[in-house]
Amino acid sequence: MSAREWRNLGLAAAALGVVALLPLFDTGYWLSVGVSIAMYTVLATSWALFSGPTHYISLATAAFYGIGMYIVGVGIGVLPFAVLVLAAAVAGAVLSAIIGLATLRLSGVYFVIFTLGLAELVRQLVAWVQATLGASSGLYVLTGITEPMIYWQLLALAGLVYLVGWRIGRSRLGFALRIIGNDEVVAVHSGINTARAKVVLFVISGTVASITGAILAPRWTFIEPTLAFGAMLSFQVVIMALLGGAHRLWGPLVGVIPFTILSDVISAKFPNQTTLLLGAAFLLIVYLIPNGVVGVLETLARTRARENG
């Protein structure tokens, strides 16, 4: 590792440490905004690990997130929380591996379509199982876990995701993914096992989404299928990651912060217009900033460097 990389790593760790102090100053509104931002940062960054280089748009986030949340909801009276988070990670990994193996060998369109309805499919299955077992559709999650603890867990997970993303970016796997994103035929011909590379990354993002759902379960004391498997979550994550810029590790963060605050304001003041906001954000990304805010900044920096000779 070069001196510059050590410096960047130190700066990132220091920034995480500063952000972790938030609960000491406010445990009300701003902490809840902080939890949302931390949650979307984890989800959008891990989404971009897979979808950024490969351009395979995954809409499965809500499905994995909901599964993680449900595992905690079902098991909280029986097993300790840490075990349940682990179980959620395993479940997310297994499910994403199955989906990846079934769809990622084919063209990207099949994958998008498959993930589009996935959250709704799992929601139907969960609701059906609950109805067949005669259980009520909701679950109570009563724990001693407070909001600052959720916040710190999410920050730790975010730190982990950034570390993993940074390692992948430097590895052969990361290089292979960038080639797949540029031209999959070229990737195959240079001897890359494209299916394996894609499935590995998809499993990582699915596992992280599952853990996130598990960590956030205690935030809602009452879980029901429509809350856990809300399909909007998948779309929000896609928008935030692309708005910031999915081709850089820190890109999604740039999209998460403004979008979380903006959608918070809009859903408080104009609750019926949140879908319009999502739609406008998608069109904005496609037509004006295809590489996100980070892409715009990079172009500006490049032109300035050229002008200065």
Partner: protein, 288 residues
């Protein structure tokens, strides 16, 4: 027996909506994920005409179809053609069109929520029982099936028997070769996209005659239409119609034998099977 009749009746209306998507994806090469919203918009149109003027939903397509045609033509020319022009490859265009049509889908949902609110809507039209093979079925379902069948046949004849239909099929097979033999590919794609939107909206008007709809249902219909088109093989109209009947039967069987809440699971089961066994679809040709 009951399942087969209900499934076939449902499949007929599904065929219409899936043909719309097939025109848009097969010919215009746009993976239109706002397809279901266009269907709901068509259903809204039929509902609105019926509840204000008692206008028959089957005649309302006289208004719904031209309007949807014009709107979709404008969407293609203004929003999607720039994407087609800037795309470096088919994969690039797919990503762009998926994101752009998601945007359109959300904006359509937002507009419909603003106009009609979040409530679901239905109306009673031809809700009289008719007996087929000893079972009673709603006349509205049968009428919707017949009207859909007429539209499907008309569309198939038009595609197979006219010069314009031939040029559309040529673009579907190979856009650049179609351009070489003097077909205006841009105009043909715009026509296919607009026609696809109009057909889907007509499907929505039919479906609204017997199903309760609300503004957020679009994405489910998009899923169904996508699965039908993939199941049938993207380039073949016969495959799409057959696949629509298969999905209609599978959904009805699951709904009546296991649980009505699991219809999407039935669709997914078909989807997984076709992905694993025959990814090019029932009537599709294997790609190069």
């Amino acid at each position: 027996m009951d399942i087969i009749v209900v499934g076939l009746l449902l499949g007929g209306t599904y065929a219409l909506m899936a043909l719309g998507l097939q025109l848009q994806y097969g010919v215009a090469r746009i993976m239109n994920l706002a397809n279901g919203e266009m269907l709901v918009a068509g259903a809204f149109g039929a509902f609105w005409l019926y509840s204000t003027t008692r206008f028959s939903p089957f005649l309302s397509i006289l208004f719904v179809v031209p309007l949807a045609f014009a709107v979709n033509w404008a969407i293609y020319r203004v929003l999607l053609q720039p994407l087609v022009k800037r795309a470096k490859s088919q994969g690039h265009l797919e990503v762009d069109s998926i994101l752009a049509t998601f945007g359109m889908a959300f904006i359509l949902v937002g507009l419909m929520l603003a106009l009609f609110g979040g409530r679901s809507f239905e109306y009673l039209y031809l809700a009289e029982p008719v007996e087929i093979l000893g079972q009673r079925h709603g006349l509205n379902r049968i009428a919707a099936f017949l009207a859909s069948a007429v539209l499907c046949i008309a569309l198939a004849l038009w595609l197979n028997r006219t010069r314009l239909g031939l040029s559309l099929r040529a673009v579907a097979v190979n856009p650049s070769a179609a351009g070489l033999v003097g077909i205006n590919v841009a105009a043909a794609s715009a026509l296919a996209f607009a026609l696809g939107g109009a057909v889907t909206a007509a499907g929505g008007a039919m479906i609204s005659a017997f199903l309760t709809m609300d503004a957020s249902l679009g994405v489910l219909f998009t899923m169904k239409a996508l699965i039908i088109v993939i199941l049938g093989g993207v380039s073949d109209i016969r495959g799409t119609i057959l696949a629509a009947f298969i999905l209609g039967l599978a959904e009805t069987a699951v709904a009546s034998l296991i649980d009505p809440g699991l219809t999407l699971a039935a669709a997914y089961l078909l989807f997984i099977l076709i992905l694993l066994v025959r990814p090019q679809g029932l009537f599709g040709r294997r790609g190069t």
